[in-house]
Symmetry: C2
Subunit: 353 residues, 2 copies
């Protein structure tokens, strides 16, 4: 075992204990811990425990409210609004997901808009839970400004992710989880640090020109996927998550980092569909398995070992890491270790020998 290899269940315990020390209730701490470790298991470290230090910092600064609880409002028919009351994002997301699934259980579908939330972790965390209940989830979130509208110069929208989860039988579930930007801002920051060029199409500089220089890109804005198409999708996400719910939108979604003034006021939108309202779940699962086999049997481009289904790679990584441990990036491990020490919790206890 490598030096930064950790047992995932003990990582959850570590994170739970840290959040509890920061004033979070045990149940809510467990939810957030599960959401973060879920991302590290899938190899998506950008949405994993790497976020814990800033979550804790914001709790301690009073910018996230751990004494409140999300409230369900306007529940009628197959829709509802969740007011997140500025609680931890994953706590708010979990409440919204459960509300949407409960509504879908009765009505075949459930539509829940969410306001006054925070960074809610990886969308895939919610998708996996819906899948386990035989439901289809489509979830969106807005985010702090990074992306320019087509024709614009500076960030207006966030990376505004969309994600979808669909149950399967024996095949890995369909789990698409994507930003509507071409690349993450973190990747550009990393290229800048390493002095490397970035590919064309990722970002524009302050003059609106496509740039390969990461420093110029960081002063400019990220580009959406598919040009004006991605801009349209990001705006759709912002409208549903922000304008329709009363959350922030565009400039009024505040940053998770370097922001000691404002709650984030992130908005989300959960859309759940009960498969059984359309066809028997076992039949649907069988059809999904056959469909996936059909796609995988397609002739492949040179050098391609196989055709992967959305989320399949991360699903394999999680399976392997549950068995053999989660390797955390060096920097993340040392930050977590320092945070734990500060609050009297030892990261070492989660390390694999």
């Amino acid at each position: 075992m490598g030096p930064n290899r950790y047992d995932w269940k003990r990582l959850e315990k570590f994170a739970t204990a840290v959040f509890v020390r920061a004033g979070v209730s045990t149940r809510e701490a467990e939810t957030v811990a599960r959401s973060l470790v879920h991302a590290d298991l899938r190899g998506v470290h950008s949405h994993g425990l790497a976020r814990m230090p800033v979550y804790v910092e914001r709790i301690l600064a009073g910018l996230i409210d751990v004494k409140e609880a999300p409230v369900v409002l306007n529940k009628a028919g197959a829709t509802a609004i969740v007011d997140g009351k500025n609680c931890l994002g994953a706590v708010v997301g979990e409440a919204a997901l459960q509300t949407a699934m409960e509504i879908a259980g009765k009505n075949g579908t459930g539509m829940v808009g969410v306001r006054c939330s925070n960074h809610f972790g990886a969308c895939s965390y919610y998708a996996e839970q819906a899948i386990q209940k035989g439901m289809i989830l489509f979830v969106m979130s807005n985010a702090p400004q990074t992306m320019a509208p087509t024709g614009g110069l500076r960030p207006f929208f966030g990376s505004n992710p969309i994600a979808a989860g669909i149950p399967t039988g024996s095949a890995p579930p369909f789990l698409l989880d994507m930003a509507t930007t071409v690349a993450a801002r973190g990747k550009i920051a990393l290229a800048a640090k390493r002095g490397e060029a970035i590919p064309r199409g990722w970002a524009i500089d302050e003059q609106g020109e496509d740039t390969t220089e990461p420093e110029r890109a960081l002063r400019g804005a990220l580009l959406p996927i598919g040009g004006a198409k991605g801009y349209g999708i990001a705006m759709f996400v912002d409208i549903l998550c922000g304008l329709l719910t009363g959350a922030g939108y565009g400039p009024s979604v505040h940053s998770l980092y370097d922001n000691d003034q404002h709650p984030q006021n992130v908005g989300h939108f959960f859309w759940v569909l009960r498969v059984e309202s359309f066809m028997p779940l076992p039949l649907f699962k069988q059809r999904m398995d056959e469909y996936i086999q059909l796609i995988k049997a397609e002739p492949r481009a040179a050098g391609r070992e196989e055709i992967l289904i959305p989320g399949e790679m991360e699903w394999r990584t999680a399976k392997e890491r549950r068995a053999s441990g989660v390797t955390l990036p060096e920097k993340v491990a040392s930050e977590l270790s320092a945070l734990g020490s500060r609050l009297g919790i030892e990261l070492e206890d989660a390390r694999l020998q």
Copy 2:
């Protein structure tokens, strides 16, 4: 007035009369005519009257059933399935939209899956109707194979469009209507005819290599927007429209053209959201107007006159064309004229002097 300028209301009458001669009921003929002229008004000729000859050809060959009517099945809670009974696509789409809006009127949201349909015209036709009722529409359709999965060599998915319409106050409505491929196959065919190169990123050749040669692209496959992200979106659309409804999917969605064997069995998915379930409609519309103003006020890239909202350009074109007439491409006008003559209906009657 140019020689191919037509009055849009008289074009609708022309198209209605042609469909009626082909055996379609007046009411259904009017629906399809409206859907096609809607696209021509917006300048989207690829989904306008240019499709009428092949629709009529398939009706006369018995490949579209004009004696049947769509049937609503499995209606429960906020979901339903529409069996299109192989009727004209716009007739099926209209039935599904009305069903979804009726359900949303009662439940706040309505989710309608559709099977056994045909090419249903421009998604924007349905979005405009939902917008007029103060509702948000998200609509998807699968389509005959043109797009390769990431890592694959040949077409498996269709261009699988998604569209969204959102009401506004005085600003043009938000109306995103997009294929999940980077470019339309028709554009590549046109480049081939003109002997022009196509941009990188549009398509792969038979070996899976990105190509700028349109002939190679036509033997290869179209690429999705955003690489694996667009592949994931196209697959999501195919699953909801096809696997969940009992429509065709992947290879079992049949072509509109050069196919005298199979009904198309296209699938659609209509998702309607009633704004009033979340906030008062006048307030939402006012918020949308302010939001759009905010985006339009953003600093612009060099050479950009303004920042456009999705669908704004087409909205302006439609406004102008309603007033001054619709200019049809020469080839479309001559095909329509020939089709009309065959069935005893004069396109000339719709021409502006």
